[in-house]
C-alpha cells in the first residue's frame, strides 16, 4: 500500500461508495474480485485492468499527500432555479446517497509535494453533471489558483451539463472556460485529467482547456452521445469509439495514464511547469 493511502482523510465516504460485501464483480471481465484487493489496487481490476469509477472523495484520497487537503465551499448547494419538476427530489437523493452537497469537491492540496488547487467531479452525484453550483465551484477554484499562483488540476467524471438547470447550466461552460482562459493568460499550469466518463458540456468547456490533457485507460470521452451519433449517421459505431485510446489516436488528448501512475505523472508535469513545492525541497 502506498504510504499516502494509509490514512485517507475522507475514509468514511470512501467506504460508503463501496458496494456491500466482500466481493465485487468487475463490470468488464465479470470476475469476482476480493473487495480488499480492489481497494489496494486503487479500484483497478487486477484481472483485466478495468478502472472502476471513483467517488470524488476517493479520488482526492488517492491523489493528495496525506492530510494536505483543504476543501473550499463544501456547503455550496444547488437550488432549483427553474422550478424543474423532480429536480429537488433528485438533488436530495444524490445528497443522501453520496453524503456530499454537490457533484464537485474543490480545494487545495499537495500532490507529491506540489501545492495545487484541485477540482474533482463526482459521477455518483447526478452523473457528475454541471449545474450552477458545479460551475461556480470550478470557477472559484480556478480563480483561487490564479490568486494563489498555484497550478489547477481538474479530475472530470461527468455526463455533461445538468439539464434541470436549463440554459443556466449551459452558461457554466462560458463561466468555467473564461476562468480557465485567465489561468492561461497568466502563465499558470492547468492539467486536466479525464476519467470515465467525461462527456458533453464538461468536455466542451474546461476539461479540454488543460495545458495537458491526461486520460485514464478506457475512459469514455466525447461530446455527443453514442446513440445520437448513430441515429444521425445511420450506422453502428465501433466499440472503441470515444474511448481514451480513440482520443489519443486522433490527437485529442496528450496521454493515457493508468491510475497507479497518475500521481507520478502529475508530479512530473508539475515539476516541468515549475510549480511551487509545498515545503522546501531537499537539496539533491
Amino acid at each position: 500500500m502506498a504510504p499516502w493511502l494509509r490514512k485517507p482523510n475522507i475514509s468514511a465516504s470512501q467506504r460508503r461508495e463501496m458496494p456491500a460485501g466482500l466481493w465485487a464483480k468487475c463490470p468488464r471481465c465479470k470476475n469476482l474480485i476480493y473487495q480488499k484487493e480492489l481497494e489496494r489496487n486503487l479500484q483497478v481490476c487486477p484481472k483485466c485492468g478495468y478502472h472502476h469509477r471513483l467517488s470524488a472523495a476517493v479520488r482526492i484520497a488517492i491523489t493528495v499527500d496525506e492530510g494536505s487537503f483543504t476543501e473550499f465551499d463544501a456547503g455550496l448547494t444547488s437550488v432549483d432555479p427553474l422550478g424543474f419538476s423532480g429536480y429537488p427530489e433528485k438533488l436530495e437523493e444524490a445528497r443522501r446517497r453520496t453524503g456530499r452537497a454537490e457533484a464537485a469537491i474543490t480545494g487545495t492540496g499537495a500532490v507529491d509535494g506540489f501545492r495545487a488547487v484541485l477540482v474533482v467531479l463526482d459521477f455518483f452525484f447526478m452523473g457528475g453533471s454541471m449545474g450552477s453550483v458545479v460551475g461556480e465551484k470550478v470557477t472559484r477554484a480556478a480563480e483561487s489558483a490564479r490568486q494563489q499562483r498555484l497550478p489547477l488540476i481538474t479530475f472530470s467524471a461527468s455526463g455533461g451539463a445538468r439539464m434541470q438547470e436549463g440554459a443556466l447550466s449551459l452558461m457554466q461552460l462560458a463561466k468555467t472556460s473564461a476562468a480557465a482562459a485567465r489561468l492561461h493568460a497568466e502563465g499558470l499550469p492547468f492539467i486536466s485529467v479525464m476519467s470515465d466518463p467525461t462527456t458533453g458540456g464538461v468536455t466542451a468547456s474546461f476539461a479540454f482547456l488543460g495545458d495537458v490533457v491526461v486520460a485514464e485507460p478506457g475512459a469514455l470521452i466525447g461530446f455527443a452521445g453514442r446513440r445520437v451519433i448513430e441515429q444521425t449517421i445511420g450506422r453502428r459505431l465501433p466499440e472503441a469509439f470515444q474511448t481514451a485510446e480513440f482520443c489519443l489516436e486522433h490527437g485529442l488528448i496528450d496521454m493515457i495514464t493508468p491510475r497507479d501512475q497518475l500521481r507520478a505523472q502529475l508530479s512530473r508535469l508539475l515539476r516541468f511547469f515549475g510549480a511551487p513545492r509545498a515545503e522546501v525541497e531537499a537539496t539533491a
Partner: protein, 295 residues
C-alpha cells in the same frame, strides 16, 4: 474573488428592466415551432440584409471549409465588422449542402480564425446564431468537436474587441455557445436558446420524446425566460405571428438593436470591456450559499 464568504444571490434574481411585450403569449412549444419555422429568416439572410459588401472567408487552414458556417467581413452601417453565423438552409437542397446549419469542428475553427482576425484589426464581431446543434457525427468527434467548442468559448471570453451576439432562431446548446459568448446577447422574441433540445430532454428524463412540449416549458428556453434569468440582455421584437410574416420588420428591429449596442461598446476601453464580459458570465447562476445538511 475566490472564496467570497458572503451569501451570494444572483442570476435569476437580477431585475430586468421592463420591455414592451406583445399581448398574446405563446406557449414555449409554439415558440419552438416558430424558431424552427422553415420560412423564418435565417442567419445568412440577416447577414445579407444587415451587412453591406459581405466578403466571405473560407476554411480553417487545418482541414477544410465547413459549409455549415459563414464567416467573413463586411460593413454594418458604415462600420467594418467581422461576421459569423451558421448556414441553415431555406429548403432541403440548401440544407443538405450546408449540413442543416450544424457545424463541424472545422466550422468553429474557421469562425475562431475570423474572430482572431477581427481582434488583430480592431473590428467588432457580430455573431448571428441559428443552429440546432454542433454536428453530432463520428467524424466530428474524431476531429475534436468538444475541444473546438471549448476553445471558441475560452477565446471569445477574452477577445479584445466588442462582440455582439444575436440569437435569431435556434440556439442549440454548446454548438451555439461556441459562437455565442459576447458583451451583449440579443435574442429575437421567438428564438430559443437551450442546453438540450426539448425532444432530447424528454427522451432522457422521461424516456418519452413525445413529452417534448412539457420539456420545452420546463427548460425555460424562450427569450422572455432567458431575459428573466439574466442570460440574454435584450429581446428583439418580432412582428405579430413571427419573423417569417414580415422578415423586413424583424431585420429592421435587429439592425436598430445591434447598432445601438455596437455604438455603446465602442466607447469602452478594452480592459473595461473584458472585465465586464468576464463578470457578465461570472454572475450567472450563482447560488444562495447555505450550510449543507449532508455535512
Amino acid at each position: 474573488m475566490a472564496a467570497d464568504p458572503r451569501p451570494t444571490r444572483l442570476g435569476p434574481q437580477q431585475a430586468a428592466p421592463a420591455q414592451p411585450m406583445p399581448t398574446t403569449r405563446l406557449s414555449a412549444w409554439e415558440i419552438v415551432q416558430l424558431a424552427r419555422h422553415p420560412q423564418r429568416p435565417k442567419a445568412p439572410e440577416f447577414i445579407e440584409h444587415l451587412i453591406v459588401d459581405f466578403t466571405e472567408l473560407h476554411g480553417d487552414r487545418l482541414f477544410r471549409d465547413d459549409p455549415a458556417l459563414l464567416a467573413g467581413f463586411g460593413w454594418f452601417e458604415g462600420q467594418p465588422v467581422a461576421v459569423i453565423g451558421p448556414y441553415k438552409g431555406r429548403d432541403t437542397k440548401e440544407n443538405l449542402a450546408h449540413n442543416f446549419g450544424m457545424p463541424n469542428p472545422e466550422g468553429y475553427r474557421k469562425a475562431l480564425r475570423v474572430m482572431k482576425l477581427a481582434e488583430k484589426f480592431g473590428r467588432p464581431v457580430l455573431s448571428f446564431i441559428d443552429t440546432p446543434a454542433a454536428y453530432p457525427g463520428d467524424d466530428a468527434e474524431e476531429r475534436g468537436q468538444a475541444q473546438a467548442i471549448a476553445q471558441n468559448i475560452a477565446e471569445m471570453s477574452a477577445l479584445r474587441v466588442p462582440i455582439v451576439v444575436v440569437i435569431t432562431g435556434e440556439g442549440g446548446s454548446g454548438g451555439a455557445l461556441a459562437m455565442g459568448v459576447g458583451d451583449v446577447v440579443l435574442m429575437l422574441e421567438n428564438a430559443i436558446y437551450t442546453v438540450i433540445p426539448p425532444e432530447g430532454c424528454a427522451a432522457i428524463l422521461w424516456r418519452d420524446a413525445g413529452r417534448a412540449q412539457e420539456a420545452a416549458e420546463a427548460l425555460r428556453l424562450t427569450a422572455r425566460d432567458l431575459r428573466g434569468l439574466g442570460i440574454i440582455d435584450e429581446i428583439i421584437t418580432e412582428p405579430e405571428g413571427g419573423a417569417q410574416t414580415d422578415p423586413d420588420a424583424a431585420m429592421l428591429a435587429a439592425r436598430e438593436a445591434v447598432g445601438r449596442h455596437l455604438g455603446a461598446l465602442a466607447a469602452l476601453p478594452v480592459e473595461t470591456l473584458l472585465e465586464r464580459r468576464y463578470q457578465k458570465y461570472r454572475i450567472i447562476g450563482r447560488q444562495v450559499e447555505r450550510l449543507s445538511r449532508a455535512r
